[in-house]
């Protein structure tokens, strides 16, 4: 039996705890990948929505409206299964055209071996990566719609005169969009995007619903009381402390984000035709 600090240091470095620490990395990785992907989706959706050909703008607007209208948990609860089965179905159609059996057999979803995602022979890490990628895609689709909404609003907020001036100088529509509108819209989009980033951070515990072994999973597993027969480190019910750690993690993370976003806002307001930009000019 080890005592006090020594016990704690051994306890906190078991393989299980390593899994716990890694899962924090998983959350950060999810954010790091999802944020730009969602922004890309959003930008695409906003551009489509602005299209001058009606059916194209319907696609963009339809995507934004559909995702925003579906209740969130329902989306997360069965979207991933649907996505997974959809991908396998497509692969199945492409790779096994001679397969005649029905894909739905009672409760089972059966596709041919080489259409399985990932392949049954793949090592475990590929399965985990695939699961994670599905989670990223789900998050990106959902948040892409919200980002699209923000960006669409921001593009419309750029003063009309700016574009008109650009066109008067002989820029084409495309040039005016990329050289005048896009650089200016960010300052209008920033409050909405900051808010979205905060919401995204706070949505990450939903990874737990998507079957990824995330921080919530490990906090529950590690915090539960353990008996001496099955572990070298028996302890009582410590779930409260593990969740306290999670709470502090999220608070620290949102705090840091707030500070960084405030700095970016100041930077972006520089030289803009807004109240913030005007105040900076006067102060200088």
């Amino acid at each position: 039996m080890l005592e006090g600090l020594q016990w704690l240091s051994c306890y906190l470095t078991t393989g299980k705890h390593m899994g716990f620490y890694v899962s924090f990395g998983t959350v950060l990785l999810l954010l790091a990948i999802t944020a730009p992907v969602a922004l890309g989706f959003g930008f695409g959706a906003a551009m489509l929505s602005r299209a001058r050909i009606a059916p194209i703008s319907w696609i963009g607007k339809g995507y934004i409206a559909a995702v925003r209208g579906v209740p969130d948990i329902a989306f997360f609860l069965f979207f991933v299964i649907a996505l997974d089965q959809g991908i396998e179905w497509l692969l199945h159609q492409a790779r096994c055209p001679e397969w005649t059996d029905p894909i739905r057999q009672g409760n089972d979803f059966v596709v041919c071996d080489i259409a399985k995602m990932p392949l049954g022979t793949s090592p475990q890490w590929i399965h985990e990566t695939y699961g994670f990628a599905l989670a990223v895609l789900t998050f990106a689709i959902v948040f892409g719609a919200f980002a699209g909404n923000v960006l669409y609003g921001a593009m419309n907020s750029v003063p009309r005169g700016q574009i008109e001036t650009a066109e008067a100088y002989g820029m084409t529509h495309r040039q005016a969009f990329w050289r005048i509108l896009v650089p200016q819209m960010w300052v209008y989009a920033l409050p909405g995007l900051s808010n979205l980033w905060m919401v995204l951070i706070k949505a990450t515990p939903l990874l737990f619903l998507l079957g990824v072994e995330d921080i919530v999973y490990w906090a529950r597993e590690l915090g539960g009381s353990k008996m001496a027969r099955f572990t070298d480190y028996p302890h009582g019910d410590w779930r409260m402390w593990y969740f306290l750690v999670l709470l502090v993690f999220y608070l620290a993370f949102t705090r840091v984000s707030e500070i960084v976003l405030a700095r970016i806002t100041t930077k972006l307001s520089h030289g803009q035709a807004t109240v913030g930009g005007e105040a900076q000019r006067k102060a200088a």
Partner: protein
């Protein structure tokens, strides 16, 4: 006719399987002594040992996957893993969705455990894990059922006084009763032993594991394993 198609499909499946198919075994990882995560974070327990031995006998390569109890059957049928080996009792309701091998434990008793003796379990507040045979039983007895997603939490609820007693597989409770203040109150027999579950379209694979279980019963190695993990009932 339908059977014929199924068999050919199964054959086609196993033809692919000959190329070193890895069988993915799904478990919960929170139900000692059957399955749990050890300090290193790996799946451990009676079923880990059993599953590895079965795979060896069936000459299959196996990997272990953990999944929440709640969604363990849907994830099997949608193909995320190939078999469930998670202390799952064989019941009629589950037979409708998946196919079981023969039991690798005897129909084992479930038991109530609580902090006070002489509790009337039919008029008490009883904790059980959600969607288990035990939770179904408690709902029928007329006792007040409180459901938790993991087995751990059912025991924690008794210790915190949240509920009067917990109903669970006796083998799960034995080490807990030995190490804590909980005591056994009553036993009931539910279900028909524990078996491995497979997709209904996966008869071939199920056959292999079924044969491996039978061979372990024959040579007594299953009994030795049950002994080692102190699980009641022998073959």
């Amino acid at each position: 006719m339908k059977n014929l198609i199924l068999t050919t499909a199964a054959l086609a499946l196993t033809a692919g399987a000959a190329m070193a198919e890895t069988v993915r075994l799904g478990t919960e990882g929170a139900y000692p002594p059957y399955n749990f995560l050890n300090d290193a974070g790996e799946v451990d327990g009676f079923e880990r040992e059993l599953g590895d031995e079965l795979c060896k006998r069936a000459e299959l390569e196996c990997t272990w996957v953990t999944n929440d109890w709640d969604s363990i059957i849907p994830n099997l049928t949608s193909g995320n893993y190939d078999a469930i080996i998670a202390g799952m009792s064989i019941t009629e309701a589950r037979e409708e969705l998946v196919d079981f091998t023969q039991g690798y434990t005897q129909p084992s008793p479930s038991a109530y455990a609580g902090l006070t003796e002489g509790l009337d379990v039919k008029n008490a507040v009883i904790a059980a894990q959600a969607s288990t045979i035990q939770s179904a039983h408690v709902a029928e007895t007329g006792a007040t059922l409180v459901e938790f997603p993991t087995p751990d939490e059912t025991v924690a609820a008794v210790q915190s006084g949240e509920v009067d007693a917990v109903l669970s597989d006796k083998d799960f409770l034995v080490p807990i009763v030995a190490e804590t203040d909980l005591m056994f109150l009553e036993e009931v027999r539910l279900g028909g032993g524990i078996g491995m579950a497979f997709r209904e379209s996966d008869d071939e694979l199920r056959g292999k594991f079924d044969a491996a279980i039978a061979s372990m019963k024959e040579d007594g190695s299953l009994n030795a394993m049950l002994d080692k993990w102190e699980i009641e009932g022998k073959f």
